[in-house]
Symmetry: C2
């Protein structure tokens, strides 16, 4: 594997309320130089929650996405608030967006969006031991909760309104995890 390129210079070249664009001057180990732009990393982390109602049922949500100007299916997610752990942020988002609390969280993996021009990582947490519990978030309208069977994921994955890559990846990872768990359980045969 190649040696990491050297970062010669970082400059903020544009900024809005929520975004900052950073220009990066790089020298690769072979001497090649490039200037790239990327979205500047945010300070806090972010979480995506896979709420497991039972061993085969995930609670998904349908909400409006201003980027695609449409309602889309996905998993609850959000940025951490100052001082929150991953589990605390996941528990808050779960209660705000799905109306459930959970007794057990497992951190699965941190997914990246676009390693080429975004630093952000989204930590995927599985939530189990669900119980009804609602917190008010800042949602402009009630979020629709949509139960999905993991055993039917291979069909759901082709739906037109389920296209967000991180939700799809998280669902497949959880399906793998549950299958591996099931294989470790003692069998009756």
């Amino acid at each position: 594997m190649a040696k990491l390129p050297e970062i010669l210079k970082k400059t903020i070249v544009a900024r809005s309320r929520f975004f900052a664009v950073e220009e990066l001057e790089l020298r690769f180990s072979n001497g090649a130089r490039r200037t790239y732009e990327r979205l500047r990393p945010g300070t806090a982390g972010a979480v995506m929650v896979v709420p497991l109602l039972d061993d085969d049922t995930v609670l998904m949500i349908r909400e409006y996405g201003a980027g695609v100007e449409d309602y889309t299916l996905g998993l609850p997610k959000g940025g951490l608030e100052p001082g929150e752990t991953l589990e605390q942020g996941a528990h808050r988002e779960l209660q705000e967006e799905v109306g459930y609390g959970a007794t057990r969280f497992t951190v699965l993996k941190a997914l990246s969006l676009s390693p080429g021009y975004m630093a952000s990582r989204l930590s995927i947490l599985v939530a189990e031991g669900l119980y009804p519990s609602r917190l008010d978030g800042d949602e402009p309208e009630p979020i629709e909760v949509v139960p999905m069977k993991l055993s039917e994921l291979s069909d759901w994955a082709w739906r037109e309104d389920l296209h967000e890559a991180r939700s799809l990846a998280a669902l497949y990872l959880v399906r793998d995890l549950l299958r591996a768990r099931a294989e470790q359980l003692p069998h009756n045969d």
Copy 2:
């Protein structure tokens, strides 16, 4: 499902060479108003290629990502050039980044990155009938090609250097597709 919110106003609030940030004023069907920021949609599309060397082998690549400041595993991808179809763009990227041409492309699905604040969609294409063919791209250093067995995806998916959500989702989708194809083939038993 709720009626789509009305877009009252769109304003560009920041701009760099590659990015433009747009502010969106929305009125939801219940009357709630929100102002969101999003990255403005690019004009052309983008493609991600799943190069199938055989029914179980995908050619992945390892390249530097300026966003995460590290080398990461993923699938070849890139923006379309003016006038290119999805298949033409996929064929060019495959030859530039992997050093293979392909005789057959199948469009699987268009994945979104972050529906809340990005419009961009990435079309996933499976490339089959591979043959050696190289085009020069604008890569600063040679890209390492890493063959991966789809039958081992459930292990690879947990690797630390494989975290890009769209690559993971695309790999799982292709594994599903190939399994469905295999079930449709006549059996000898």
